[in-house]
């Protein structure tokens, strides 16, 4: 049995077996290590203060403290109170075990530790500067440990230079603390910077309350509990209903024996369990703790202890899959239609039409199609069908040609001018394969075609509620309503980023809840939002209030924009910074503000859109390079109908 809390130097033979590597690469790693130490010390409350662009980090806990005589040892490499022998690794219950964190931190920052052991009268202070012997002295201190890191990386300019913006560092720190806090609802956490308390959760919270506090209040309606076990493997936690899904996997929190981990396969099986419930590119939100005998899992894979290896991976994955699936199946995820129906004359008692019930129908019991159509004399459409049909199939063919041509074009990036000779070379406007594709002439040409006869194109109608069909003089214009409008808005938004914007104040402001880690990012972006006409105010906690929207986008889904930006900021987290986010905001606003595919439009609305598009002289491809409009000229139509031989 280990002697409690005594720090020993690990023997070299053992050190070599432990996954080694640099652990302190950014402020968030410091916070991670210090918080883990506080958790290992049995703290009830952990307070994290950040200053100086997250380069000053102070972590205070009310845990067991460090004995004065052990203090100097704490800074030595491979000095730990947590393991003694290699075998201990298999029984590990603590977060730390490599005895390396404090040493690594002390090498790149100024460090002060103030500590008093539980039950002791006197405390001690350690002060250290990189490259110098630490000074230890007696000092008054509250019970617990107070580690204060200052001027992180001051002596390693290169690392300092590669730090991300303070906002993205902060976000990462919050993500890190969130993960710890999610699995330790018994511990209270506070994160604050000079200005604000960014995260605060009290100790001794019920697990679900903790999860809701950290995922945003909205999660409350969506979290389903997950519970499952087989052969010593227990899975517990929460899975969110599909309506609460996200754009990336970041909100899939996995823990093994209470240790936050990342695990691709786990995430994949979770996605599988949601199969059929999520749109493509959406990811489930889950919080899952897998408990299994310590010897069944190897945590010593990666220096940051982020990854683990299961002895019996298939078994673990199976248990998780089943548990999540059962939790989803048990929930009534579909709109309830007959909540309070008494057993009817039909004698059926399906008061709750549960998800599983519905699935049974949507998969098993397809409508039965009568089989003997053959005995009927049915007229097959003759070759000379109606002209309308004909045109349509041509168009479809033309579209396919066009797609192929596009692909060919993409394949031949280097020789842009190769005109793809297909029977009908339909070009996205502005990308006419002219010998000298100077963008301005192509554009002018396209503009001329659009306005042929000096009139705006006249919309004729909508196809599939997605495309507008319009007559442009003698030409046929097809518009992807969403892509074109999105493009238009994007341009307008970008253009006016410089000017003042008319705004539509809201009678009823919209409140939006964001995950706690995204709070600082949104706060940092409020000025950008305001410049674009979106008045966003921090209401406190994880809640923001939108007071006005841009006058030209009165129906924009502000909640959607904010959530998208949150997702973007979280995804960018590592590489990104505020600058790249600014452009994302424009993109998101354009997308959320634009007419949707599948939206019915009146002729007036189509006319308005067509005019705006023509007036804007916008590019004819969307920012992703997809065409927004396709023009079939009279000449092309003639050729298609073999009226002229080309």
């Amino acid at each position: 049995m280990l002697q409690e809390h005594m720090i020993r130097i690990l023997p070299a033979s053992l050190v070599n077996k432990i996954a080694a590597g640099e652990v302190i690469v950014r402020p968030a790693s410091v916070v991670k290590e210090l918080v883990e130490n506080a958790v290992d010390a049995g703290a009830q409350r952990i307070v994290i203060d950040l200053a100086n662009s997250c380069r000053d980090i102070r972590v205070r806990d009310d845990g067991c403290g460090i004995a004065r005589e052990d203090l100097p040892k704490a800074l030595l490499r491979h000095a730990t109170s947590k393991i003694e022998r290699f075998e201990d690794l298999w029984q590990l219950r603590t977060r730390g075990f490599r005895g390396e964190a404090l040493a690594s931190i002390a090498a790149v920052a100024r460090l002060t530790i103030l500590t008093r052991q539980r039950g002791e009268l006197a405390g001690a202070r350690l002060q250290s500067e990189p490259g110098q012997e630490p000074i230890v002295e007696a000092a008054g201190a509250p019970e617990g440990t107070d580690v204060w890191v200052r001027d992180l990386f001051f002596n390693t300019p290169v690392r300092l230079k590669f730090l991300k913006s303070p906002a993205s560092e902060l976000q990462l720190i919050l993500y890190m603390v969130t993960r710890q806090a999610l699995i330790r609802p018994d511990i209270g956490f506070v994160v604050a910077n000079e200005r604000d308390t960014l995260l605060e959760v009290p100790p001794q919270q019920p697990w679900r309350d903790r999860a809701v506090a950290l995922l945003g209040m909205e999660a409350d309606q969506h979290l389903l509990s997950v519970e499952g076990h087989r052969q010593g493997i227990h899975v517990r936690g929460f899975a969110a209903a599909p309506a609460f899904s996200r754009k990336d996997r970041r909100f899939q929190y996995f823990f093994v024996n209470g240790r936050p981990i990342t695990h691709r396969m786990l995430s994949n099986v979770v996605q599988q369990a949601y199969k059929g419930l999520l749109m493509t590119q959406r990811f489930a939100v889950v919080i899952l703790n897998i408990e299994l005998p310590p010897q069944e899992v190897d945590v010593n894979v990666h220096p940051t202890k982020e990854e683990v290896r299961f002895r019996n991976e298939a078994m673990v994955l199976g248990v998780v899959h089943r548990a999540v699936q059962e939790s989803l199946a048990g929930a009534n995820l579909l709109p309830t239609i007959s909540l309070s129906s008494p057993p009817g004359p039909e004698g059926r008692q399906d008061e709750l039409i549960s998800a599983s019930h519905w699935f049974a129908h949507s998969t098993g019991a397809r409508p039965t199609v009568p089989g003997d159509f053959t005995q009927w004399t049915m007229q097959t459409p003759s070759a000379g069908g109606t002209p309308g049909e004909h045109e349509l199939s041509r168009l479809v063919a033309a579209q396919r040609e066009f797609d192929l041509a596009q692909q060919a074009q993409r394949n031949q990036e280097s020789c842009l001018n190769t005109s793809v000779e297909s029977p009908c070379s339909v070009h996205p406007l502005g990308q006419q394969a002219s010998p000298e594709p100077s963008p301005t002439t192509a554009q002018a040409e396209a503009q001329a075609l659009l306005l042929s006869g000096g009139e705006y194109p006249e919309p004729l109608g909508q196809v599939a509620d997605c495309y507008i069909v319009a007559r442009a003089g003698e030409n046929l214009l097809l518009i992807d309503q969403h892509a074109a409008h999105e493009r238009l808005l994007y341009m307008q938004l970008r253009e006016r980023a410089q000017e003042k914007v008319n705004t539509q104040p809201l009678l009823l402001p919209v409140t939006v809840d964001v995950p706690v880690e995204a709070v600082p990012t949104i706060q940092a972006l409020t000025r950008e939002f305001t410049a674009l006409g979106l008045h966003v105010e921090h209401f406190g906690g994880t809640t923001f209030v939108v007071q006005s929207v841009p006058a030209d986008l009165p129906s924009i889904d502000v909640g959607g924009v904010l959530m998208d930006v949150v997702d973007d900021s979280l995804a960018l987290g590592k590489e990104g910074d505020l600058d790249s986010l600014r452009d994302r905001i424009l993109t998101r606003m354009a997308c959320r503000g634009a007419i949707k595919s599948g939206q019915k439009l009146s002729l007036d609305e189509m006319r308005q859109l067509v005019r705006d598009i023509v007036d804007s002289r916008m590019g004819f491809t969307c920012p992703h390079g997809r065409p927004t409009m396709i023009l079939l000229t009279r000449a092309q139509l003639d050729r298609q109908f073999k009226r002229v031989v080309s």
Binding site: S338, S340, S341, D350, I353, T368, P554
Partner: protein, 386 residues
């Protein structure tokens, strides 16, 4: 099952039912209509979407009792094309349903009728009647303000607020709020009752209400039903609390403006030609005994029109989203409208001069004044008359 209908009657029933069914749904049953004949001379057609369901009773000769589902769209499209003065027979043979009319026969895909959720009998807490025409009027005034999508789920329906024999219906998309009142007749008028009725149901009602006859409305805590003759709608209410709309209705006004509606509406239609998506707004400038309607945009030029107005409370400039304004003016009854306002940036009220029972709260647009010279006194008299 074997039931005989008059084509015209079946078509009318099928139209109402298929309009509720949801062929886009991934749940096959929602794309079906349940046809049921369990009385001698009455059959029913039932269809449902997520929240709304409908049952239409259609006179019929039920030769063999039973029930069957048919794909709503195909069925309706087919029976609509049958000769309207003939009889049509719907019958099941094993797994199939055939529709026969004279020498015309259609055979359709079907699903087991037992899988069709049963019609939940509703225990009403509150019941009242009103003229269909009155409900129609209320819906015409309110429905356009109820958004099709919004993250605030409670806004996706209209609030039905009942105080004794007064019904107030409120709709809002957060920028414009509509409020319309009507009287109801009820044996036990409630002191106070609130419910949110989902948009989809209101749309269905709007399509089927008539100028004559009564509609019987019933609420309990979760559901609402409307019966118009042989059509019965039943729907879940939108859950949650509707925002406290009274808070956004200004109670006092420093300014009042009286304008003739038809010329104003025409002026705004003209002004709209000069505004673009960027601006999206028209400016109303009240001065002396006139109101000027202004619009401009970089691409399209500028617009100016003057109309007589009665101005109380001094000169005033205020801008509105021109589409909101058009919608509001179109829905307001009577020839004369009244704009009540305080500041250019506070909520304003549009109402009919002589009607207390309907008004709109509209949030003006905040115009960022341009710094260019063109903004100073852009239109002098001569230009205005030219």
């Amino acid at each position: 099952m074997r039931i005989q209908f008059k084509v015209a009657e079946l078509v009318r029933g099928a139209e109402v039912a298929q309009s509720v069914a949801n062929p886009q749904s991934t749940m096959p049953i929602l794309a079906q209509i349940l046809i049921k004949g369990d009385h001698n001379n009455l059959a029913s057609l039932t269809a449902m979407d997520y929240d709304v369901r409908v049952r239409v009773e259609v006179p019929a000769e039920v030769e063999t009792k039973g029930q069957i589902t048919v794909p709503a769209r195909t069925f309706y499209d087919f029976v609509r094309e049958l000769p309207s003065d003939s009889d049509v027979v719907i019958e099941t043979k094993g797994e199939k349903v055939t529709v026969t009319c004279r020498d015309i026969r259609g055979e359709m895909a079907t699903m087991p009728a037992e899988d069709f959720p049963i019609w939940p009998e509703m225990e009403p807490k509150l019941e009242f009647d009103m003229a269909q025409k009155d409900l129609q009027e209320v819906l015409d005034r309110v429905l356009f303000t109820v958004p099709v999508r919004d993250m605030r789920k409670t806004l996706l329906g209209a609030l039905f607020e009942i105080r004794k024999t007064q019904l107030t219906v409120v709709g809002t998309d957060g920028k414009i709020l509509a409020c319309a009142r009507q009287t109801i007749s009820s044996e036990k008028p409630p002191k106070e009752f609130n419910a949110i009725v989902p948009r989809k149901l209101l749309e269905e009602l709007d399509r089927n209400l008539n100028d004559e006859g009564l509609v019987s409305v019933a609420f309990n805590d979760k559901q609402v039903s409307f019966r118009l003759g042989n059509i019965l709608y039943l729907s879940n209410q939108v859950e949650g609390n509707y925002p406290d709309y009274n808070q956004v209705i200004p109670k006092q006004f420093a300014r009042k403006f009286h304008i003739q509606k038809p010329p104003l509406l025409a002026a705004i239609r003209r002004a709209a030609i000069f505004t673009d998506q960027r601006q999206n707004s028209v400016m109303l400038e009240f001065r002396g005994d006139k109101v000027a309607i202004l619009a401009d945009s970089y691409d399209r030029g500028r617009f100016y029109e003057e109309l007589p107005a009665v101005v109380e409370g001094g000169d005033f400039r205020v801008a509105f989203n021109y589409k909101f304004l058009q919608d509001v003016l179109k829905s307001l009854p009577h020839e004369e409208v009244l704009l009540q306002a305080n500041q250019p940036m506070t909520p304003a009220i549009w109402r009919s001069e002589s009607a207390e029972d309907c008004f709109y709260v509209v949030m003006p647009v905040r115009i960022q004044e341009r710094t260019e010279v063109e903004e100073q006194q852009p239109y002098d008299e001569s230009e205005g008359e030219a």
